[in-house]
């Protein structure tokens, strides 16, 4: 019962049933990622600690979005919506942070 896809007769796109094996692989990857990020947090890497923690978190989030949330198998509209959310969030956060970083520019 774990066929990769079930073709719809309308043919526009198939409703993709993701197989449990994919979910198991993603689960293991997420558990490994968690172990890795906790392990890394016990090592003093100075400046790199937050970067590594956020990089691993982003990798885990990407796996969840692509496979658990089926974005890899979904319509272009869904992909565009997800992309728009990420783009909008990054735009807002970088504009806000660049304001706070540069506000006192030259005043010291």
């Amino acid at each position: 019962m774990s066929e990769p896809s079930e073709k719809s007769k309308h043919g526009e796109h198939a409703h993709h049933i993701v197989s449990p094996m994919v979910y198991v692989v993603i689960l293991i990857s997420l558990l490994v990622g968690t172990a890795l990020t906790v392990w890394a947090s016990f090592i003093d890497l100075g400046f790199w600690n937050p970067i590594i923690a956020l990089a691993i978190a982003t990798t885990k989030a990407t796996l969840v979005v692509l496979f658990f949330m089926h974005v890899k198998y979904s319509t272009k509209l869904t992909m565009l919506t997800v992309g728009a959310a990420i783009f909008m969030f990054l735009t807002l956060i970088s504009m806000t942070l660049s304001d706070y970083i540069s506000r006192a520019w030259g005043s010291w």
Binding site: S41, A53, A57, I86, F89, L97
Partner: protein, 251 residues
């Protein structure tokens, strides 16, 4: 043209064709209906990204402003509880994904089991969060009138934390800003926990409906879209775990 609507409507009555009961009349096909609902759910999640995004941004800005206070505040969190909760939530996301698969392949008992497991794991997460919160209440680290600076102005008075981090005492004006850290900690984890509570309430509703066979007769939209919500809440926690528990351990 006010009449055109009735004409078209009349026309479609004549061409009325067979379709499943769950296909609403304003959709062409089941696929179109599923895509539309899926799109709507994602739009909701975009607003959720913005909602949590605002709080994450506030956290990053205040962390830069009151860096020593945020580091000291973060040292009050126990990585072991945080890790355990991360594992619980990731496994609950897996059981939810399996629930969607069971619905898609019309396995009623499997679906009910997956939903119950997801609910139990969600409740476990909240239980662990309660242990963490009650520790903060005991130490008077909840922002408000009874907030205590003792752990930060005199770190050796807090032996368990001192043994692990050997924090230096903060001057009172900086120590006061640990309250900002805990405000954001409670705002972020509290809003996350509220999402979990809402999710668990919907899970209870879904378990009852699933037992009646609601999602295993070809119409899986509700389970699928709830899955999206549950995974989103998981993603928020993945970032909360990194930002609140992990990034300040060595600073």
């Amino acid at each position: 043209m006010p009449d055109s609507h009735t004409i078209v409507h009349g026309g479609s009555e004549v061409e009325h064709h067979e379709h499943p009961a769950y296909l609403r009349h304003h959709f062409e096909s089941v696929e179109q209906q599923a895509d539309t609902t899926n799109f709507a759910m994602w739009l909701f999640l975009v607003t959720e990204v913005m909602f949590f995004g605002g709080m994450f941004t506030a956290y990053l800005i205040y962390r830069n402003w009151y860096y020593p206070a945020f580091v000291a505040g973060s040292h009050q969190l126990d990585v072991r509880w945080g890790t355990l909760n991360t594992l619980v939530l990731i496994i609950s996301s897996f059981t939810m994904a399996m629930g969607v698969w069971c619905a898609e392949t019309r396995r009623k008992r499997g679906l009910v089991l997956c939903l119950i497991l997801t609910m139990i794991l969600g409740l476990s997460f909240l239980g662990i969060k309660t242990i963490e919160y009650s520790e903060k209440i005991e130490k008077h680290h909840v922002p408000g009138f009874h907030y205590s600076l003792q752990s930060f102005t005199d770190p050796q008075s807090d032996p368990a934390i001192y043994a692990e981090y050997h924090d230096k005492a903060l001057p009172v004006d900086m120590a006061r800003h640990t309250e900002v850290y805990f405000s954001l900690y409670f705002a972020l984890t509290g809003m996350h926990a509220l999402h979990m509570i809402i999710g668990i309430a919907i899970l209870v509703f879904m378990i009852v409906r699933a037992q009646a066979g609601a999602y295993t007769s070809g119409h899986v939209t509700f389970v699928e879209n709830f899955g999206l919500y549950w995974h989103f809440v998981d993603i928020v926690w993945i970032y909360l775990f990194a930002l609140l528990y992990l990034i300040s351990r060595h600073q």
